[in-house]
């Protein structure tokens, strides 16, 4: 086979797969951004704060419930509690912020989401505490070896990463079905395309916004449970959203498939770059690779891979 050492292929596959799996996590956070941007034209700076609050609500409720009931009951109840918290946030955001700012410029709305993010970070830590909380949702954490028949010794995978990928895939599938097959999904797509037209057929904007922020909140719970399982629930989850920025720039702000593909590309790209280019440039590529990609995309194709061309009206 062209004289390439099979262990090198196996190593490449290992790096690629682990990159793709961490890309899934980026995609999950990026998805929240895209949902809100599509439906309300708001670039939601508070997405990271929502991940933090979701994680805090989940971990604290879970810890408290687990003390008095079996695991299998505590977990769903904790998820329901976190869901209720995120729904409450969506309601408050729509009622007290978005509704007041109808027809304001994108910049005004963006500034408002910065405000929302400070409020969420502050309130979230005030209510749920500001320490690092360990989150154990019972997902397996050990490693396994896959494709042993193909490669000698197989490739090393982490089970937690695999489960994350499964969870993300289920979530995305559910979202796609919701968008394509239900009345609310159709309404969301309509609002994303044209506010006035959507209103004229009787779609109430405010309810749609509430639903979108709720869905973004639920996506934040998924992101928080996976990130939280890996690194613990802590303030730094807020910065996870910074990794989602290059992902949506690459994938396109308005595209759900773009968020997924962008996440996978960035995840795989930064791992491969780190391993194969790292040694020759002194390492640390993983830290800035995504941002360089985003910069190049902005210069070459500002709408991203899948996004709609955004024409600024003057």
């Amino acid at each position: 086979m062209l004289g390439i050492d099979p262990t090198k292929i196996a190593f490449f596959a290992e790096v690629l797969v682990s990159g793709l799996l961490s890309g899934v996590l980026y995609a999950l956070v990026a998805l929240g951004f895209v949902l809100i941007f599509k439906a309300s034209g708001v670039f939601n700076f508070a997405q990271g704060a929502m991940v933090l609050v979701a994680g805090l609500a989940l971990v604290r409720a879970f810890g408290w419930l687990e003390a008095s009931m079996p695991f299998w009951l505590a977990l769903p109840l904790a998820i329901i509690f976190a869901g209720a918290v995120m729904t409450g946030i969506a309601w408050a955001v729509e009622r007290f912020v978005l509704r007041k700012l109808v027809n304001q410029t994108a910049l005004t709305l963006f500034m408002a989401t910065i405000g929302i993010s400070f409020v969420l970070e502050g309130l979230g830590q005030q209510i749920f505490g500001a320490q690092v909380y360990k989150l154990d949702l019972g997902l397996p954490r050990d490693n396994l070896f896959a494709l042993e028949s193909l490669f000698d010794g197989g490739i090393l995978l982490n089970k937690l990463d695999l489960w994350s990928a499964v969870l993300a895939a289920v979530l995305v599938a559910a979202l796609v079905i919701f968008f394509q097959k239900t009345r609310m999904g159709r309404a969301l797509r309509a609002v994303a395309d044209d506010h006035s037209a959507a209103q004229s057929v009787g779609i109430p904007l405010t309810r749609v916004w509430f639903v979108v922020w709720t869905v973004a909140g639920l996506v934040a719970i998924a992101a928080a449970s996976i990130w939280g399982s890996k690194v613990g629930v802590q303030f730094s989850l807020v910065f996870v959203s910074l990794k989602a920025l290059p992902v949506i720039i690459l994938g396109g702000l308005t595209s759900i498939p773009g968020a997924i593909v962008g996440g996978l590309l960035i995840g795989a790209g930064e791992k491969l770059a780190e391993v194969y280019l790292g040694p020759s440039v002194g390492g640390g590529i993983e830290q800035w690779f995504a941002y360089v990609v985003a910069l190049v995309v902005l210069l070459v194709r500002p709408q991203g891979l899948f996004g709609d061309r955004i024409i600024e009206r003057i």
Partner: protein, 288 residues
């Protein structure tokens, strides 16, 4: 014709001529209530210093085609926006089917049976023709989200029923060939037709059309005129039509209201409007 021949029209723009003729529409409110689907009662609308609408009153009778005409910036679109709740009048009332309101909301208007199209085509660009028209059924879908997902029993037959209705509209508008085409790819004339289709899917009682023929060639205008008349005849839908092509307006409409600088300057049958001195002046740019 001298400017002095119409002394009232030159008053400051914020004041309307008391001569605003309303032939054929007696201001007999008790009698009007029974016949009228919609009544505009002294509606004004201000944007900062601009009076987009100034004390405008007229009515729309069930089953008629009612045109609103006037020069650019006269306030025609603003009037439609007040009727379907995009704008909130600064004063005055709008009575729809006997319900008197100072303002409404788009979702309430839509629920009440008011559908509209837009001066600049406003379609859902990412969706196909079929899906666009299907959104017109948004308010009519009854079954819950779970039932819609599994498409079981009543939800399935409901979906089929909506599909049937939408297909009927597609056939009526002669756009079968482009059912699955994303609307962004269609030429302008066809987009306007799809927009009409979406409004028709709402099975409206009152259909508001804002310049449905703008930018169309002669053949397309003839098609659109035919659709408008047929909708009015077959479904008995009341239609309010804004249009700049005077020929089309005179042909289609039962009655015409003329706006200029936010004021109503005339109201009557096409024949009456054609011979109205103030209308002629407004269109020639005299006295305004």
């Amino acid at each position: 014709m001298t400017v002095m021949s119409a002394p009232m029209t030159f008053a400051v723009p914020s004041l309307c001529s008391p001569h605003a003729v309303s032939s054929g529409t007696p201001t007999d409110h008790a009698g009007a209530a029974a016949c009228c689907l919609l009544e505009i009662d002294r509606v004004s609308l201000r944007f900062g210093g601009i009076k987009a609408l100034n004390d405008v009153s007229f009515d729309i009778r069930s089953g008629e085609i009612r045109a609103i005409i006037g020069p650019n910036g006269a306030g025609k679109t603003s009037m439609l926006n007040c009727i379907n709740g995009f704008y909130r009048p600064s004063s005055g009332h709008i009575v729809f089917e006997g319900v008197r309101r100072t303002h409404t909301r788009p979702s309430i208007a839509a629920r009440g049976g008011i559908a509209r199209t837009f001066q600049n085509v406003a379609l859902f660009k990412g969706m196909t023709v079929l899906d666009n028209i299907m959104t017109g059924r948004a308010l009519k879908i009854r079954s819950g989200i779970l039932k819609q997902l599994i498409r079981f029993g009543p939800a399935l037959s409901e979906e089929i029923e909506h599909r049937r209705k939408v297909e009927e509209i597609i056939e009526f508008l002669e756009i079968q060939a482009i059912r699955k085409t994303p609307v962004g790819k269609l030429p302008y004339g066809l987009q306007k037709r799809v927009e009409l289709g979406r409004a028709l899917a709402m099975e409206p009682r009152l259909l508001l059309l804002d310049e449905p023929m703008a930018g169309m060639n002669l053949e397309e205008k003839e098609d659109m005129s035919r659709f408008i008349v047929e909708v009015n005849r077959t479904y008995r839908t009341t239609i309010t039509l804004i249009e700049h092509d005077i020929g089309v307006v005179m042909n289609l409409s039962d009655r015409i209201v003329v706006l200029d600088h936010g004021c109503k300057i005339a109201d009557g049958t096409p024949a009456e409007i054609k011979s109205n001195q103030q209308v002629i002046e407004a269109y020639l740019g005299v006295g305004g």
